[in-house]
């Protein structure tokens, strides 16, 4: 008698699980999102974590509605290794192709992370007509310029985070604020020898000079450089007051430690400065990263209240992974999944051309502001105000915390100078 009761109970429970709305979605064939990411680096694993978080949230609520059916997302991650020094671009292309052909990815979110690899992957993406949203790294303006130039070929490519030209505009506006407040106008540029950083360095040099800044030098460092002393000595000798850093290599931490030890009287201002973006930076440098400014590209990668969703995401990420959002690829990778879900549901289909058309009409309030794509270039529309567009974040390390200091609309504190720079 007892056995019968137990059998009945098990059957009822099994039926309940199978008939629940969420599980019905899970029973459907999943929509595979391929994530080509350089997983050994922060710009890779942070994106993977953010995509995972978004997929878990969406699947928990029943999945994506496609033509009247609820279907779950499933992610497939492959390591592109494109951020590792010396690894050829072809490795990343192999990963992209494997995701499409072998893992049957319908969509790609994430990378390749390095601009060179992402640009090389564009013809492959158009060949297979896979809607792709790059969310981390890939700062080269050439990416969206290529979409605009050959729309019919590259229309499947979207970028949901800020690109180098916009970052320069943000940096320049922030530099003007620093100039106005502290009178610092001598800028020494130190960049890594990679496409986006070289381009950004050259553009910054040109544009900043036009805005009245004195550019005291532009140094290009090969990936893997471990000694920056001579560059810093040069910066000091030229009376530089700001160090503009464009480096995503881990060795940039050496640069900041050297800057602190040598007490260089110039404020370090980093873009894609991966080392300084991570929450563990303070501990890793023993506090020597104090006062360092870092552009974390989009709001949500550091605590702010850009939109009601910002801190919700920030806290959810911290709870899920035991660490706050770690690099510039977090909030954008997270939002890319929601934007894709929204586009698929509006398109009512997984057909790439229909999804592209729907993506072009995207208009949602996300973690880092209003998200819309330029219909010609498929670049997310940026703004200094989260109500108008995707808003960035520049943080400064103050007392062991990343404090958002720019733009004003979401700032949580003021820019401070190190004691050896105070007059």
């Amino acid at each position: 008698m007892k056995t019968r009761h137990w059998t009945l109970l098990v059957i009822i429970l099994a039926l309940a699980v199978l008939l629940a709305p969420g599980s019905r979605a899970l029973a459907q064939k999943p929509i595979i999102i391929g994530c080509p990411l350089s997983t050994a680096y922060v710009y890779g694993w942070d994106a993977e974590r953010a995509v995972t978080l978004a997929v878990e949230e969406i699947n928990a609520k029943g999945g994506v509605k496609v033509g009247g059916q609820m279907r779950p997302f499933k992610i497939e991650v492959l390591d592109t290794r494109d951020l590792e020094p010396g690894v050829p671009v072809s490795e990343a292309l192999l990963a992209v192709e494997k995701l499409i052909l072998d893992k049957k990815a319908k969509f790609l979110i994430g990378g390749p992370v390095r601009s060179e690899a992402a640009l090389a992957a564009m013809p492959l993406i158009s060949k297979y007509k896979v809607v792709t949203i790059v969310t981390t790294g890939v700062l080269s303006p050439k990416y969206h310029a290529m979409v605009a130039k050959k729309y019919d070929k590259y229309k499947y490519c979207f970028r949901i985070h800020g690109e180098a030209k916009w970052l320069i505009k943000e940096i320049l506006t922030c530099l003007l604020e620093i100039k106005q407040k502290y009178g610092l106008d001598k800028v020494f540029i130190m960049v890594q020898d990679v496409a986006h950083a070289r381009t950004a360095g050259k553009i910054l040099k040109k544009v900043a000079a036009k805005k009245g800044f004195d550019i005291t030098g532009l140094e290009i460092y090969p990936t893997g450089t471990t000694d920056f002393s001579m560059g810093l000595v040069k910066a000091k000798k030229t009376g530089s007051q700001i160090l503009s850093l464009w480096m995503d290599m881990p060795e940039s931490a050496i640069l900041l430690k050297q800057w602190y030890d040598m007490k260089i009287p110039a404020l370090p201002f980093g873009s894609t400065l991966a080392a300084a973006e991570q929450p563990g930076f303070w501990k890793a440098t023993g506090g020597k990263g104090a006062y360092c400014l870092a552009n974390v590209v989009n709001a949500g990668n550091a605590p702010s209240e850009a939109t009601p969703w910002t801190m919700k995401f920030y806290n959810a990420y911290a709870k899920r992974w035991g660490v706050p959002p770690e690099g510039l690829g977090c909030s954008s990778s997270y939002m890319a999944v929601y934007v894709l879900k929204d586009a698929i549901e509006r398109a009512g289909s997984l057909d790439p051309d229909k999804v592209v058309a729907a993506m072009e009409k995207t208009d949602i309030m996300g973690v880092y502001g209003r998200l819309r794509f330029d219909p010609k270039s498929h670049q997310v529309i940026p703004s200094f105000d989260p109500k108008d567009g995707a808003v960035g974040s520049i943080v400064q390390w103050q007392d062991g915390k990343r404090v958002v200091v720019f733009p004003k609309s979401i700032a949580k504190g003021q820019i401070e100078l190190p004691p050896w720079m105070k007059k």
């Binding site: 050994a40 590792e84 020094p85 290009i220 450089t225 430690k257 030890d261 563990g280 930076f281």
Partner: protein, 288 residues
Amino acid sequence: MDILIYGTINSVSLALYALGFALVYGTSRLPNFAHGALYVLAGFITWSFLNSLGLPYPLAIVLAILVTGVIGALIYQFILVRVRGMEISEIIASYALGLAILEGLRWGGFKGMSYTLPVFIEGSFSVAGISVDYQRLLVVVIGAAVVALLWLFTHFTRIGLALRGMAQDERAAMMLGIDSDRMAVVAMGFGSGLAALAAILLLPLGNIVVESGYNILILAIAVCIVGGLGSWMGAVLAAFLIGFAQILTVVYLGTHYQMVVALLAIILTLILKPSGLFGRQKELEERV
């Protein structure tokens, strides 16, 4: 003055990277391509002793050097001994081991930029208006002490003399009762210990990242080729040549040519004097 100061620091750093590699090759003709991996491994071992086990820093340092030394000795005893004398196999086996160590560390979660070691002494001082931190001063002082101690060790101790005997003529040394394999184990142990010492001195200047293992190996090989494979005094001289050449390149040509210097030095050495500056044995072979 800045060229002199930072040229010296850079040169001593290069010498520290290369000494272990030079010692192993010099005494047992074994190209240890796992050298860079052992350097990184030593960094993570020290970090783990310090942060996971909570050991005091000096104890963590001593233990890390010992453990890395033992790992090096075991690598020879259980793996490299089987391919001893087959140069290509030695290179492939040791490189594969290096890869396994580095990728194993990454697989084990040692990735990212948040692993670092504390400096020995905080603060900096100024020489002729050029600011230098105490850790870099220690690198130079300890680097010089290591070279001096290595010289004393190889000239005045039984093991050191046996190692030199092996380096000069392995067969003659064996005829005098020196155990070739035992000496190779000792050399690998010492070489790995030296890699660990370099890591402990230099890693507090930055952070411990897996990828640096490959760079360290390239720099160590460049220094040894220029200095003459097998000659550790040649390696020290080559470290100064390459070290100053790098700094002068940064000052007069541009920072982005800095990494080319070491590779160019290898190419030039192989074209002009394949035996390197002090590679006597190879030079004899070349003459023949």
